[in-house]
Subunit: 307 residues, 4 copies
């Protein structure tokens, strides 16, 4: 793809194709706020390095960011703590979901990577210990990078997650039993569920991801991460960013990406642009069906895979 | 890195640094032929798309390719069989080694990816069914791509692997019990161990890997794989190519790569060049210590990571 | 052994042998109150069906009953709930400890048996729902059966368990995520840790176990369990009563038994007598070293194994 | 039950009840010879210590003994090797079937107990090393104890097992990779499958099991096992004899027992009698549905449980 072309026609073509695609998966049903969403909704945005944004469909519609926030929390944690963070959380793919707990046990409470729930809990715990307000720190960062001061938590979603939070509570206590959690588990869970509840649009999240395409440089030109750290987060996204479908995502899309059960996926073309796509229908591994398909088409049409 | 620079000075600097590096790991000790190797030996080669090769240290010294051959067998199998191959082997990282068998059991005899032993056995089995000589097909391909007609099996190594082959025999019979192996297990093991035994140098293997940087085009200009298939193999290498250290390799090196217990590692910079490094000292996960370090330095010095 | 003989000489011979035995294991060290105990302490009691008790060593010294209480909670729960209880907890041995969590996950939150911690939490939860005071119900029962109104909780031990209770909290929340816990997890944990903290002597516990040798009849002649239920609890004790050493315990001792990390073990000779032995030094699987040895000698000297 | 009563009326009552019982399970379908059996067939025999046999239904009909033979092979191995045998195979229940391979891996090739396939392969391997003919040694023993010189291997069944033997071959090679198999795997498998193929009737097998009720004494009055060894085998049968339903079998039947996929189950009342029941319909865990039910009724009607 020639650098002079804009992304707008590509996005429009993809949106058209998605509209005609049968089969959209099912919205996440474990909390009411997500279950009500129509799986046919669709939005997509591309942000260039300079902050120019292209969009199609409901690209300005806020949705529940959920696990997409794990990328930003990781960046904020790594920026503050550096490599020491990796003594508390690994960076290897987790393999089968069914092994998550036995792996925690086998590996003495050190989660495999920062994008499984156990790992994200550890990263949040450490960020909270350093900032005394992990969720607030994250929200400030997302507002600044997206240029949207109205981004906020969805209290109803956070409360709903808390009410269904026994599994995350189990993970928290289990890691605490190995000494790998510093804050009281209920405090940690509150921080974690608030982070997950942040609402943002494709435009917001594509912009907020920009520092990963700019090798660590924030929207205001200051440096959040070293070039090497930005590369490292991209690598972890590629190998661990889409639950148990990371291999498949790399195979089909070929970009660092991170999905959430709200139906969003962010992706990075290092040195070039960032993307965010949203469609609430999920496949059985928790990734947006139309979202993965749209990113697949994007890399095919533009040739912008890392491979 | 400007395209006009040659790779030679970079390689020389890396070789120098490696020489001063303490700690080289231990050579694989499960067969005598490998155990005898000095872990301080070192060679490295870079091949450009047109076949120009740069090298340093023992870059023309043949060594036992071992699991590196799994990449070529996969390419040959995929070229013949296409996507049907993926019904018999997955493309997700395998997580913890300790889970390999339980995963096979849990997933009904379908190995997680083509680069763990179980998966490579399946790919070899299927290639053998289509060619009646999987090992010979592989050897012909490597000779053609490297331009080195003297490449050959090491019969002693193959015999030694067979003598210590109970674990691979167990994997073969186990998958056969699920109907995922077509040839008699002893026939399959013979093919498999002969493939692993191929001896080739860094120069040979960097050249033979060229088709993955050329988006599927062989050294003679004919097409082996579609652009999409070449991208897919690179993706599988990045997520699954270095045993249980794939996440760490992506994080440090940021290139599709594949290692072997002989101490070699191949790597791909799509659209630009291919690399092979060799040093027999392994870390506890089976990857060459100096090999990973050298590739890490290469991407840092040249900026040629995919991220 | 002829019925007319008393057990006293046998107990004295065993005590003598134990005194000369080198190697006593180590006291449990996860809470201070247990860690301080001298592993050489020893007591043993046998209670006949009519309540006659024989004893040797520190057989009247109270110690922390810990997991021994799981037998009584199970009996009290089964008496109230009948077979419905078995829909919430299994009765199969748990195999390797390391699999406990993965088994819970694989079996949808239903623990394997009532004597692993997860299973005991479920039984306590259900008893608490029916009695509104599981721990009090248990204490009342033990006081009545032992004839010792001074039996009580050890508040310090209970507090200490709570402070180190993250792993049990993890189990509780994990099962709650499957809907297999009815009370709030903190309430359940409080009940559970109080039960474990009960202090009783060998004489107390041998007497309290009597209903299992009397085929379900309590000390006062009333029936707690049907004959069949008493047999069933004995069967579960034999197959699951000594952590991951149930097979070994059956092989060596050949009696239904249940151990606790306080160093106590109770055992049943159906239709004949009950035993309790105490010595705080544990083997690596959490069973009293001298306790198992003493029971082994008892069955050898008297021929009173079930096999 | 008074010693003066004979077992005949009890057996007749049980046979009648079984006839009216709906639901018989399904015959094993992995080899044709077993799949053809009508699940409604039924036979049962009780042998007293002196060799008096009572029977009902098809109690003289030979059937495929299958895993029931594992008890006799264990006894013959233990008689020759003593406690050293237990360094090569454990005596703990195996927990979930699905973990069998991971347990082998986790425990370095030492199977959990002699009644899972891996463990039986080890016992056969060791008996074969000491006798040069494990299967022949077993056959001779069964002929002698049953007094039936016509007992024999069923070559067709053995051939059929071999043809479907990939899973056992996998186990054999896997343990060989840990050095826990002394004979070549194909030799071992041949011995193993021949043992499994032995055909015998309820009467034959009840008689052949007599040494376990006689505390180690064979039919001819000579001693095969010490009293302690006989007790130990009974203990292993109780805790591990019915696949993953050992806890349930102990709970319902309360006797040491061992089942086979041919539909047979043997059971021991130490010091009193032995039983064998046969009905080819299996439950999902591989135990004869009517067989377990009949033994359950037997212990209920006679009170002859060990608990």
């Amino acid at each position: 793809m020639a650098p002079s072309l804009t992304f707008q026609p590509v996005l429009e073509r993809i949106a058209e194709e998605m509209e005609q695609r049968p089969g959209r998966g099912r919205a996440a049903d474990y909390i009411p706020a997500l279950a009500a969403l129509d799986p046919h909704r669709f939005g997509m945005a591309v942000a260039e390095l300079d902050g120019t944004v292209y969009g199609v469909g409901e690209w300005r519609q806020p949705f529940s960011a959920q696990s997409i926030t794990k990328v930003f929390t990781l960046a904020l944690g790594l920026a503050r703590e550096g490599d020491e963070l990796w003594e508390h959380v690994g960076r290897e793919p987790s393999g089968n979901p069914f092994n998550s707990l036995v792996q925690l046990e086998y590996e003495n409470g050190i989660p495999r990577n920062p994008f499984i729930n156990a790992g994200a809990l550890v990263v949040t715990d450490r960020l909270h210990s350093r900032t005394d307000d992990a969720a607030g720190t994250l929200l400030d960062f997302l507002r600044a990078e997206s240029g949207n001061p109205e981004l906020d938590f969805d209290q109803e979603v956070a409360a709903s997650e808390t009410a269904h939070g026994d599994r995350n509570a189990a993970l928290g206590h289990f890691m605490a039993s190995y000494g790998n959690i510093g804050n009281p588990v209920p405090v940690l869970l509150d921080q974690y569920f608030r982070q997950c509840s942040i609402e943002a649009s494709c435009a917001d999240l594509a912009l907020a991801t920009g520092f990963l395409a700019r090798h660590g440089i924030r929207a205001d030109g200051t440096r959040l991460l070293t070039r090497s750290q930005a590369k490292q987060i991209n690598a972890v996204m590629l190998t661990c960013g889409t639950y148990d479908a990371a291999g498949d995502f790399a195979y089909r899309v070929g970009l660092p990406g991170k999905s959430g059960v709200g139906g969003g996926i962010i992706a990075v073309v290092p040195g070039r642009c960032t993307l965010c796509v949203w469609s609430p229908g999920l496949d059985e591994r928790g990734n947006s069906v139309a979202g993965v398909a749209a990113l697949d088409r994007f890399t095919t049409l533009t040739g912008l895979s890392v491979f």
